[in-house]
Each structure stands twice: as C-alpha cells, then as structure tokens.
C-alpha cells in the first residue's frame, strides 16, 4: 500500500506535526502546529515526491462562535486553511493551523508561493489576521478606511445592525485623503534614472475593463513598467451573506458570483452541500444539471468571444455572438424561466422537470450552432489583424501558471491537458465523452483557441444529454432535499413536515466540512462549506478562478504596451463579481 501524504509528513516532521481530521469530502485534511506549517508547506511544494505545486486556496475561519467542539474546531480562536493541489497525484490537500488571540499574527508564505500575496491580504482584510513578512499587507476587497473585519463573527451582517450612516465633514476629509493617489503606497516609483513615469488609471470606469476594475499603470511612454490591479469595487460580501442565509436560500446568491456562468455556480455550491448532507442526486437530475451547465458554458464563452474581439477594435462579432447567446438563453428560459441567473438547481436535484418540447429547442440549437462557429473562426480567429494582436502577447509558461494558481482554459493553453470534468469527475461527468482541448504557447491567441474548441465540446456534451436523457426523478427523495417533491406532500405526513420545515427554517445540514472542485467556465471553482449543524453555514469560502488570474496581471503585462494590456485582459476572461465575490 502506498504511503499517504499524511504519513510522509509525519515521517519527516514527527508524529505531533500531523493530526488527521475527518471531513465529509475525500480531501485529506490535517492540522499542524503553527510553528511547523511554513516548513511543511515548503516541503510539500518542493521536496516531497510528487509535490503539491499549486496553492489552490488560502482562507481562514473564525472559530469563536462554533456551536460545539468537534473535529478540532473550537479550541482555537481562528484557523488558517491552506488548500494545495498536486497534478502528479491528482489530489487536494487541506492543511489547517490554529491561532490564538483576538488579533493573531502568523508567518507569511509569500516567499514560497507568490500567489499567496492576495490570499493573505484577503484574510487580513476579512479577519484582521496579520502576516509577518508580507510585502504589502493592505486591505484588498474592502475600502482602506473600513472599520472592522467583515468575516469576524462580531462584525454585523445586516445594515440594520450597523446604526445609521452619517457622513460628517471630518469623515469626508478622511475618505478624500484615502482616495488620493500616492504611488509609494502601491509600491511604485515615480522616477527611474533617466525618466519620469506616467501613472495611468485604467478604470474603475473604463470601457476595456468589463466592469469596475482599476489597474494602475506605471508607464514609460506607452510601455508598461508595472501594473497594479486594485480590486474590490464589486465586493458584495457573498461569504458573509452565506452565514445568515439558509442552505437553500443561498442558492440565488451563488448565481451572481460568476454572473456569466449561471448554474455552474449553483452546481459548485450544491455539490458541496450534498456532500455534507450525504444526498445522492438521481441520474436524470444529474444529466439535466450537466446539460444546463454546458449551455451556460457556451453562453459564457460567447460573451467572452465577442467582447474579446471588441477589445481589439472589431465591432461586429459581439453582435452576432450576443444574438447566438440569446438563442442559448431561449432554451434556458424555456427550461428554467430565468436567463442569466436562473437559480434553478436545488439541494438534491433541480427545481422542476424539463418542460415539454425542450428536446426540439436543444436539437435546433445543436443543428444551428456549429455552422456559426465555423463562420466565427473565419471572422475572428483567422483574421490577420486579430492574430497580430494576440499571438505572443501575455505569455506565461506552464510552471508560472501552476505557481500562480491559473486554472481552466488559461492552464490548458499552456499545454497541460487538465480538465476537472475529466480528471476528477463530479456530478455525473464521468458518463460523457468529450475531448480536452489544449494549446501550447500560453499566449492570448492560444487561450482563445482553447475556449473556441471548448464550445464545440460543450455542444457534444449537450447532444449526449439530448440523446440519452434518462427517465426518473428530477429531485432526490432524501429528507434534506429542499423543497421536497411537492406531489408527495399531500399524501404522507413525513414529507409534509419536511416540506414545512425545509421551507420555513431551511434544512439542517449535518456538521462537517466539504468542498467539491468544479470546472467552471473560467477555471476551478469551489465552495468550501463548514456546517456546525445549523440551518445556515458556519463559514462559506468561495474559491473563484478569476481571483488568482487577476493577481497575475503585473507579471504578464510588464514590458507590453497599453494596447496589449487590453488583449491580455480580454484573453483572460474574468468576471469582476467572480474576483470580488
């Protein structure tokens, strides 16, 4: 029997370095003393056989309000959670370390993973945990003048708990002062030896950023010396909201995380909830979910395709692609009743069975779309000027991609054939035949190539859903499935009670923690859920793909020009809500 990673760590760092924790998902989870965690992470990244080279996620938990002591919770005030991924092992690893005190400090790991920079800033911003040795420990999502740390349990969650808002003169002055731009605060120099730099704000209001994003450019002429993204304008506190919404009523909030991905967000959240609750989803519901997810993947990629071309000055494709997206939405609307945010998946299945005539709609689209894709290939991908603007721009290597946590099409464009739907199938994807498109140069053009091909593969999956749609239930009969299937409620008392309670209070999900990594439209997306056996989650952390991608901007835009930055941003396919949550 091969030795597990836990055994390898304890062999190296001693028995007391590892306490194995039980979780509801299959992710090996260990708790280590805080003095050893940095050394262990270093070991896991570089020295261990088949290393964990990607820092998938880093977050914290405020343990102080945990209901009862269980699974190592509670004895600490805060817990830091590092999630790593190893491509060689095809395995996640969750490392936890407990912290004591009201405002604890901990050592940074930015020297091991530069990608930890933003994650640690987020933890500081949300919990007030300081990281020693961090190069730029500033608030990242909240305004710099914000008082308090939102994800701490004592921080109010509702406006009504916060007292009336008053803007006195001195506060106005303070806010104005905070808004003034001082390059030094962003780690930027004003001059070089022979030149004065120009600082240019791209955004927060700019037609090229696709949302409220600010990128501070340090320019020498039109050449980018450095770029500093300033995010958080789109932050809505989705994680805090999860702590006061019931498991069921949180679903519509997930729709709005990656607002182009629609039900893909529902899926990432519900897979984790279902893992916590031990709910099996009927086959028909699985296939319906997959079909909707793939339709949304096509819709999302179409938006990216059109706006990317538009970023490069091509005005027309975006209109054709939005028209086609409208055709996708026609199907989605017929099935779900909603369009961009259908809020249609439920705990244990989907909201309703498929309507009559859905198959004709889907079939028409399958017949129609490939022809359009070929047309777009000629119009955009084979266009000489488009190639000139995207080939060789914004290159990163596979090593850099893994180092910085790049996932999804951006990773596959570097030559790694890695798709979570295939490598770690979830929600029934193992039943479908499709290819993983890859490209090898890792530039903007290759990222586009991968996405365009992905649309074709998604269409293949949708076709298989159409041909093999199984009969059966669209929702599980598990007591936690919410709301229970309505037709039974009038006949047996048990379902009626469940219906009543699950609708009024919401289901009580058993204590534990779980996370399921899904291949969303933009990369790996997962909801790390912790339940303390209540009607709402104790802690929800949303790991979104766009967040690490945006962190990479300085690295991949240095040395290019302002015009190239727009190619890079367009080729990255991010959504601001997905970054800021």
């Amino acid at each position: 029997m091969p030795i597990t990673v836990t055994e390898e760590i304890s062999a190296r760092f001693g028995e007391d370095a590892v306490i194995t924790l039980l979780t509801r998902d299959e992710t090996p989870t260990i708790r280590t003393p805080r003095e050893k965690v940095v050394a262990i992470l270093q070991y896991l990244k570089s020295d261990i056989n088949m290393p964990f080279r990607m820092l998938y996620d880093l977050t914290a938990i405020d343990e102080r309000a945990y209901k009862k002591e269980q699974n190592g919770h509670k004895p600490y005030d805060f817990t830091l959670v590092y999630t790593l991924f190893s491509f060689e092992r095809n395995e996640f690893l969750r490392l936890k370390t407990g912290l004591h005190g009201e405002f604890p400090t901990h050592d940074t790991i930015t020297h091991i993973w530069p990608a930890a920079n933003w994650y640690e800033r987020e933890v500081y911003d949300m919990f007030g945990i300081r990281f020693n040795g961090h190069p730029h420990l500033q608030r990242i999502l909240m305004p710099r003048t914000w008082e308090g740390y939102p994800l701490r349990k004592e921080h109010p969650a509702r406006a009504t708990e916060m007292g009336p808002f008053k803007l006195f003169d001195d506060k106005v002055d303070r806010e104005q002062h905070a808004m003034q731009f001082r390059p030094e605060e962003w780690g930027l120099k004003r001059h070089s030896e022979d030149a004065d730099f120009m600082f240019l704000n791209i955004g927060p209001q700019h037609p090229g950023t696709h949302g409220v994003l600010r990128i501070i450019l340090q320019l020498d002429g039109e050449n980018i010396i450095d770029a500093v993204p300033d995010i958080g304008f789109h932050h809505r506190g989705a994680e805090k909201m999860a702590e006061r919404q019931s498991w069921h009523t949180y679903i519509p909030y997930t729709d709005r995380i990656d607002y182009l991905g629609g039900v893909n967000n529902n899926l990432a959240y519900l897979l984790a909830v279902e893992k916590l609750g031990g709910i099996d989803v009927p086959l028909r519901a699985q296939v319906i979910r997959i079909m909707l997810c793939e339709l949304f993947r096509i819709a999302s990629h179409l938006v990216w395709y059109g706006t990317f071309a538009q970023d490069l000055g091509q005005l027309s494709p975006v209109f054709y692609m939005f028209t086609d997206r409208e055709r996708v939405f026609e199907i989605i609307e017929a099935i779900c009743g909603g369009r961009m945010h259908p809020n249609w998946f439920r705990i244990g299945g989907v909201a309703q069975d498929l309507p009559k005539g859905w198959d004709t709609l889907v079939k028409n689209f399958i017949d129609y779309f490939p022809r359009k894709l070929r047309e777009y290939d000629k119009m955009v991908m084979k266009n000489y000027l488009f190639k000139v603007r995207t080939k060789g721009i914004g290159i990163y290597t596979l090593e850099e991609a893994i180092e910085w946590g790049v996932t999804g099409p951006g990773l596959r464009a570097c030559g790694l054939e890695w798709d979570m739907r295939k490598k770690r199938p979830y929600g029934g994807y193992e039943n479908f035949a499709f290819e993983i498109p890859v490209a090898h140069n890792g530039d903007c053009y290759d990222r586009a190539v991968v996405r365009v091909e992905e649309m074709r593969q998604s269409l293949r999956i949708v076709q298989q859903c159409l041909e093999y749609m199984p009969a059966g239930d669209f929702k599980s009969h598990h007591p936690l499935a919410t709301p229970p299937v309505k037709q039974h409620t009038m006949h047996d008392i048990e379902t009626l009670i469940h219906h009543f309670l699950n609708v009024s209070w919401g289901p009580v999900i058993p204590p534990g923690e779980a996370m399921v990594c899904t291949e969303a439209t933009k990369g790996w997306n997962s909801y790390y859920l912790i339940s303390d056996g209540n009607t709402a989650s104790y802690r929800t952390h949303i790991r979104t793909p766009s967040f690490p991608h945006m962190q990479m901007i300085p690295l991949i835009s240095k040395g290019y020009t302002v015009a190239d930055l727009l190619s890079i941003l367009g080729g990255m396919d991010y959504v601001l809500a997905d970054i800021d949550r």
Partner: protein, 317 residues
Amino acid sequence: MINAWWIIGGVLFALLNTAAGLIWLERRMLALWQDRYGPNRAGPFGLFIVLADTLKLFFKEDWIPPFADKVVFVFAPAVVVASVLMSFVIIPFAPGIVVADMNIGVLFFLAMSSLGVYSIVLGGWASNNKYSLLGAMRGASQMISYEVFMGLSLMGVVVLSDSFNLQKIVEAQRTVWFVVPQLLGFLIFMVAGIAETHRLPFDIPEAESELVAGYHAEYSGMKFGMFFIGEYLGITLISAMVVTLYFGGWLGPTFLPPIIWFVIKTFLFISLFILLRASMPRPRYDQLMEYGWKVLFPLSLLNLLVTAAIKLWLISE
C-alpha cells in the same frame, strides 16, 4: 463672381448636409451588417435622428474642463473642420463646378490635410488628460508618417497626367481610369486615407477600448460635434479624392449628368469606409507605424519610380 459664390454656397451646403447625413447612413449600415435595426424611429427610415443628434449637441452645456488650456481647447476642434473644408476647394465635382481651379490642386490638398493633425495634437494636449495625451501622441505620429507616402502614392497620377490640377487629372482619364495603371498607388492612397481620417481599423488615436475616447475624451457638446463632423467630412474628402484621382471623377456614361456620377462613386467609397469599420479589428500603434514605414513607404517609392520610368520610356519611343 456671383456664380462663384453660388458654387461656394452650394458646396458648403451639400458638404455639411452630407456629413450630418453620414451619421445616419453609418449607423443604419452598421446596423444592417450587424443584424440589428439601428435608428429607425424618428421620421422616415429614422432620418430625423440627424436632426435630433444635432439639436442635442447644440443644447448640451458648453463645458470646458477647469484644468484645460481654454484658448487652445476651443480652437482645436475648429481646425479639423476648417482644414477639411478648405481641401474641398480644389475638388472638381463636375466640369466647371469647382471652387478654385488651382494648378497646384494636389499640393494644396496635401497641405490642408496635414493641417488637420494640429486639431488632434492641440486638442489632446489642451485637454490636460492622460488618455487624451496618449491619443494625441498616437495621432500625431500616425498622421505624420502616413502623410509621407500619401503624397508619394499619388505622385504616380501626377506623372501620368502631367498636372497637379485636378480637373486636368480627371480629363486625362477619358481613355482609362488611373486605377488601372496605378492600382498599387490607389491601394496605398486608400490605406493612407483611412489612417489620415483615423477611422477603424486605424482609429488608434481614439481607440475606444484602450483610451476611452483618446484625444477628444474631454470634449462634449458642439465642440465634440466639430470633431465628429470633421471625421465625416474627412471620409467624404478622401472618397472624393479617390474618385477624382483614380476613378475618373465625374466621367461616366452620358445617360446621367456628370455630377451624379461623381456623387454615386463617392458614396460607394464612403460605404467602403463604413464596411471597413464593421469588419476589421485594430492593429497596435507600433505595428501600424512599422507597416507604414517598412512596407507602404518603400512600395509607394517603387510605384513612383516605375511609373516615372515607364513614362520616360514611352516619351522616348
């Protein structure tokens, strides 16, 4: 003398209306190509959108940003309209219908179109805005470098027709339009013309997705309207010049009067400009410069040399 005033008035009236009408034409044609309707509500075919747009521009607040250099800021948009309108002085719309029958017509056109760059540079500089500054820098270098071979490319026509006078150039095309012997010159002139009017794919000075609106980012109301009208006048000018230099000007079968032929040909080229805008992405600024200096400039020189050599050879025969 009275006749001359009529011509000036007529040309001015026709041009300003064309430029305004082009707003409608462009929006409708773009819409047609992009599977949508475009403005179709105000008046027949949405034609009154022109009126609505103009009225809106006139009634907007005449805003000058406090940080701008006021005199230059106001002066800049006037330059583009004035210089383009001045260029029209030498265009022969039909035999005898020309404002000034100059024997240095081509040179006058080049001189005036060079002046147009001032409005971009001054407007961008006076706005005191970084986006405008970048736009102005791009505009200046783009227009100055494309100016060079715009001039060179049409020298082939001058060689063939032995004249800088546009009426004589048109007359010289009675047997064959110059687009046939000067195909290369025509193509180069066309590219330079697009760059000169900074339209997509060469709209690099304003590049919406990069520089928001580039050199005119700070402009609003009628001062922006001047840039707007200037751009459409520019398209009309380049189309008219292409027709005059390469497509026989007013020449055409006699069942239609010459001026109608001229108008038809010019509108075909205007439509080509709009079609280009609907279909092409925008190259990067340094790529455009490289293309200009490394490809088009040598080609236009070559074109001139070969044309001149053949001409000399024909004369010596």
